[in-house]
């Protein structure tokens, strides 16, 4: 398990946690970049992380033309402690390809086949983060077909939906209510619930209300990083999970499931359904 832990990339919320994780053998970290991220618990600037080595920057927001120009200014001078940039908007590619920095692509739900992923990898992306809505078998096949090591998300509250609308504010304004900017919504029929978070300047983000436990993916090869997104997860769950892994125990994760790892999605409905 030690060689696997070496490949963990942890997206952290509190910079103080870096030392805790380092003591556990983890040396790869990521943070959300201020003004260019969504689904965050905390964001940081380059200045905030200047004293930390080997940090990846996440810029996962869909950007307007104005925001792209602002991003170019911020990325004009990328500090040497930045190990790479994880982007979700292809509008940043042309600017970043000429910079001496590793660029990783995360198109979220669109990372579902090796043909597409390889096309991007051939363009020069360092790696690619696969979607979370595909099965273990699909992931296994994709990663064996990819020309470079890929990144697998193994632990997180999955991002389920990303809207530019301010859905909580709109609800409050319509009904003269006072819902907080971070709520849980539930559908009684499917029994699914979601964290709904309204972010200033971004809109509304939906996260799964169960922790995604993709630890079985640690068996998959051709992986650059196993990605752990700690946003909204109590640090103690992460620490306990890592301790169990190091001791070759199966971690018990409360309020979690394995997502779509062993559940095929359908898209053609039979008549009468």
């Amino acid at each position: 398990m030690e060689n696997k832990i070496n490949k963990f990339l942890i997206l952290i919320n509190d910079l103080k946690d870096i030392n805790t994780y380092k003591k556990m053998g983890i040396n790869n970290f990521a943070v959300y970049l201020k003004d260019f991220s969504i689904g965050y618990e905390k964001t940081y600037t380059f200045k905030d992380i200047i004293n930390f080595d080997n940090v990846f920057i996440v810029m996962n927001k869909i950007l307007s033309t104005k925001e792209i120009e602002e991003a170019k200014k911020v990325l004009g001078n990328i500090p040497s402690n930045v190990a790479g940039i994880i982007i979700s908007d292809l509008g940043l590619y042309n600017f970043l390809k000429n910079k001496k920095v590793n660029v990783i692509l995360n198109l979220r739900h669109l990372g579902t086949n090796s043909s597409s992923i390889n096309y991007f990898l051939k363009m020069g992306f360092k790696s690619y983060i696969l979607a979370n809505e595909i099965t273990y078998k699909e992931i296994e096949k994709i990663s064996s077909n990819c020309i470079k090591p890929i990144i697998l998300e193994i632990f997180s509250y999955n991002l389920v939906s990303y809207s530019r609308r301010y859905l909580i504010t709109n609800y409050n304004n319509y009904y003269k209510e006072n819902l907080a900017k971070n709520i849980i919504i539930k559908d009684k029929i499917s029994n699914e619930s979601f964290k709904v978070i309204e972010e200033k300047e971004n809109g509304t983000i939906f996260l799964s209300d169960k922790i995604y436990n993709g630890l079985k993916l640690l068996d998959i090869d051709n992986v650059l990083f196993y990605f752990i997104n700690t946003s909204f997860i109590d640090t103690k769950y992460i620490i306990n999970m890592l301790k169990d892994l190091k001791e070759n125990k199966i971690p018990k994760i409360p309020n979690s499931n394995e997502g779509f790892l062993f559940k095929d999605t359908i898209y053609k409905v039979k008549r009468g359904e």
Binding site: G91, Y93, K141, I142, N145, R165, L167
Partner: protein, 393 residues
């Protein structure tokens, strides 16, 4: 500049209606690879037939190949694209770069149009695809007018949705359907979970349902900005919806060119469009961020619209009799409206109804029954009859 009014069609009948009512181009889905997996869609033979027909009218046809492919879905894609190339469709609408890869590797002469599924919301993103040979981009529906202008300035052809259903989220960025129903939203199985209501431990349920998009008030602005393609949403819509929406937007575009568009017509158009879709609509993101006015909050009963009364099959000029195919109930005494691509809208009171044998009836009450009604004004095949709700202009 040539502007293109682009209409979605789910069958050959709808295709013919769309073109008759003013579409400059249509877009269709095949049996596979399209984001309306549960629509009837076109077989390969039907795509060929449709292409030949569209081209005989000097119009254009695009085929959607816009799903996000899983590994197993790629099987057959190359052969399909080669087939589309051979029958010379005018372009493919895609979101997965695998489609572009196959087109380029096989030197296919297919124009590539990037789907709104990729959420192109800035000019640099548009340039990324332009550099890869993509000819046209369907911009994200979240783009405001400044962003649309900046994308047009890159020189890439720009297509903008002007009417129809909206997603709550950025297209391609929502898998609520996957979680709640196991139906894959990015492969055509979206169960439209954004139209559900959710519990939040408050007296009122939490709604995330958007109203429809309606750009009637901004068509001139979009034309002035040099948007090339004006896209309607709705491959699963009825022929009545297609005819109504196509005719209204075609008329607006013609009035813009002729400088005869006025507020009176705009208001009339909005009333007609909202009525035929049975939904309210707004311009959503075009000139501001949407607030609660751009959403629905009550539990809506989407009762299907009964306004469409009949499709005209023929007109007997000598006896002044319309033969029509009934689509909803009507009776003697009803006041209806007749409209068509070349027929100025007019009102008619139903004075008599005959069946095919010439017998008098009080009502037309069977779906698709053939009936005859007197009408002094000349009408044409494929004109339509609806309930009169709004005064004609």
């Amino acid at each position: 500049m040539d502007y293109e009014l682009l209409i979605p069609v789910g069958s050959l009948e709808k295709l013919k209606i769309a073109l008759l009512y003013g579409a400059d181009a249509v877009y269709i889905g095949g049996k596979n690879y399209s984001l309306r997996a549960n629509a009837s869609n076109f077989t390969n033979e039907e795509i060929k037939k449709a292409t030949d027909y569209v081209h005989s009218l000097n119009k254009k046809i695009y085929v959607t190949v816009n799903i996000v492919f899983h590994e197993e879905d790629l099987k057959g894609l190359k052969d399909y694209l080669i087939f589309l190339n051979e029958i010379k469709i005018d372009g493919v609408i895609f979101s997965d770069i695998s489609v572009l890869k196959i087109i380029k590797e096989n030197n296919l002469n297919l124009n590539m149009c990037l789907s709104t599924q990729m959420s192109v919301a800035n000019k640099e993103h548009a340039l990324f695809w332009k550099n890869l040979g993509v000819k046209r981009v369907v911009v994200a529906r979240e783009c405001n007018k400044d962003t649309i202008k900046s994308i047009i300035d890159t020189g890439i052809s720009v297509e903008v949705f002007i009417h129809g259903a909206m997603c709550m989220a950025y297209s391609g960025q929502c898998v609520l359907s996957n979680y709640c129903t196991n139906r894959d939203s990015n492969r055509g199985g979206c169960a439209q979970v954004c139209r559900w209501l959710f519990d939040v431990n408050k007296p009122h349920k939490f709604s995330i349902m958007p109203k429809d998009l309606n750009m009637v008030r901004h068509i001139k602005e979009l034309m002035d900005m040099r948007v090339e393609s004006f896209k309607i949403e709705g491959r699963m819509r009825s022929i009545y919806y297609i005819a109504t929406v196509t005719l209204i937007y075609k008329t607006i575009m013609q009035k813009v060119v002729n400088n005869t568009l006025n507020d009176e017509y705009i208001n009339y158009a909005i009333n007609i469009l909202n009525r035929c879709a049975n939904r309210e609509s707004t311009s959503q993101f075009f000139d501001k961020l949407p607030g609660f006015n751009e959403q629905y909050y009550q539990d809506r009963d989407e009762v299907s619209n009964q306004d469409f009364l009949g499709l005209i099959r023929s007109y007997d000029d000598i006896n002044k009799i319309i033969t029509l195919e009934q689509r909803n109930y009507f009776k003697v005494g009803d006041i209806v409206q007749i409209f068509g691509p070349n027929t100025e809208t007019f009102d008619l009171q139903i004075t008599k109804i005959y069946n095919e044998d010439g017998n008098l009836l009080n009502e037309a009450n069977h779906p698709q029954m053939i009936v005859k009604i007197p009408c002094d004004k000349k009408v044409e095949q494929f004109d339509m009859i609806r309930i009169k709700i709004f005064d004609k202009l």
